[in-house]
Amino acid sequence: MMVKTLFAGFGGQGVLMMGQTLAHGAMSAGYHVTYLPAYGAEVRGGTANCTVAVSDDEIASPIASELDNLVVLNAPSLFSFQNRIAAGGSLFMNSSIIGVEPSRKGIRIFKIPSSEMAEKLGNPRAANTVMMGALMKVTGMVPPDIFLSSMAAVMGSKKKSIVEINQKAFMAGYEFLK
């Protein structure tokens, strides 16, 4: 098994956090894992992305030429990356913010109104974690209990109330897709 997932969105939407929690969760679940952020001459308010590879074997390249999963939080990221999804791969999009339809065919599409869902839970900034719930439901990469404890570990330095809201956000995303 080898699953490559790319996360993308505006800087500040928690894009890198999504990748780190998946990487940590997959490590805790016993997989080989690599996490590679896009780095460069980035600007505040610009786009951010990162790639996570999860495998039961040694991982050759942390870069994905084809994506098994793409998680996008804003429209520019959808335009940039939808064509990198492998045939039969999955697209997870934040439909609260992305008002357009993906042009890409031959893939599974999951629309999650994650910003609205997070806002209802009391913190619109947890939209990224709602997406993680949906991603874990569909892919089954990391069991929810392991994911939640990994998320708490990655968020270690943050306030307890923030961790709690994110746990609720994860479960909301997990239960949103039947």
């Binding site: 990487a23 894992v33 590679l36 050759a60």
Partner: protein, 358 residues
């Protein structure tokens, strides 16, 4: 032994702290800025730790010289353009036989180039880099785990041979997060008598790289040469991957070696029995080990993220005993395993071997 998920640059810094590094000086440059950032925090926490963000790379390397002479395990780090500036000090350390660890997270060059991962600094690292007759031990890690292990080993090697040791990795190794387990470091064994801490009532000690008498400097050069020969005999390291039944060997180090491993899986699926020879010590180069392979395998393809540097060491080692091809992507381009596998399939013919040479 707990497994932690850590970014490559921070792995190096944490491994250094655990190995007893208590002095770091450096000047910022992408893609290695997390090393000084992490060192600034950790050296504040450990007893006797000193961190300096220096005014320049030249200052940083000379501060490392001073700290090393005074007995501290010392480190500096940079990327290509900064490493070039540090060469004067590295040459001095070789001359004065002072231990230190220098990290180069390579980026695209020459000049300021760009900040993407590259392997264009191989010549500079393995040929000494600075002026004069000297060598630097160079280690080329290919995973976060090796960043941790080789950084700790680098401090031990630097002490044992009283010479600067370089960790040669690239921007991708520095930015990537992977699981890592930190091993227990060896206790430091560095002779107290070598440390400059004031003569007191004892004999005066001098460390110097200026030896004006040609005969004396010649003797100094031969003495260093004997040391380098000992290192070359004792400290080569390499990994062999699926070479037992191989008809074709890819040779690659660091990030390129990971890509090669991915390509080998695809080549094997296509019926080509490919294997990997991965030098871990880039100087001393594992010459005998690659030559041994060439006694039974006829085809080698060297893959580097450069226009072709390590390929010269492979040619020197194999000395015409096998066909050697080369494939390179310089300038900060990281090719995929699929691309490399396609290149091999295009250039390798079972009847005629590697058909397109460099």
């Amino acid at each position: 032994m707990t497994k932690v998920l850590m970014q490559g640059n921070k792995v190096i810094a944490e491994a250094a702290i655990r190995a007893g590094c208590r002095f770091y000086a450096g000047y910022p440059i992408t893609p290695q800025n997390e090393i000084p950032e992490y060192m600034a925090e950790r050296l504040r926490q450990v007893e006797g730790g000193v961190f300096v963000q220096s005014e320049s790379e030249v200052a940083a390397i000379h501060m490392v010289i001073g700290a090393s002479a005074a007995g501290a395990r010392s480190m500096t780090s940079s990327s290509g353009p900064g490493i070039s500036i540090k060469q004067e000090g590295i040459s001095s350390m070789a001359a004065c036989q002072l231990p230190a660890v220098i990290v180069n997270m390579m980026r695209g060059g020459p000049g300021l180039g760009n900040i993407s991962p590259s392997q264009g600094d191989y010549f500079q690292a393995t040929r000494g880099g600075g002026h004069g007759d000297y060598r630097t031990i160079v280690l080329g890690p290919a995973s976060a785990q090796e960043l941790a292990d080789l950084t700790m080993d680098a401090f031990d090697l630097a002490d044992r041979y009283r010479t600067p040791v370089m960790i040669l990795a690239d921007g991708m190794m520095g930015q990537m997060m992977e699981p890592v387990v930190f091993k227990e470091p060896e206790p430091r064994a560095y002779p107290e008598g070598l440390i400059m801490k004031g003569a007191g009532a004892g004999k005066r000690k001098i460390i110097r790289g200026l030896i004006l008498d040609p005969l004396a400097l010649e003797e100094h050069n031969w003495m260093l040469d004997r040391k380098y020969r000992t290192i070359a005999r004792q400290e080569t390291r390499c990994e062999l991957f699926r070479t037992e039944d191989a008809e074709l060997i890819l040779v690659a180090y660091g990030t390129a070696a990971r890509i090669a491993k991915g390509a080998i899986k695809r080549l094997r699926d296509a019926g080509i029995r490919a294997g990997l020879f991965r030098p871990i010590s880039l100087w001393p180069f594992p010459t005998n080990e690659v030559r041994d392979l060439a006694t039974r395998i006829e085809n080698f393809l060297v893959f580097e993220m450069s226009t072709g540097q390590m390929v010269e060491d492979v040619r020197l080692a194999i000395q015409g005993e096998a066909r050697i091809g080369f494939f390179g992507r310089p300038g900060g381009v990281v090719p995929t395993p699929v691309e490399l596998a396609n290149v091999v399939m295009r250039r390798y013919d079972r009847e005629r071997g590697i058909t397109e040479c460099c």
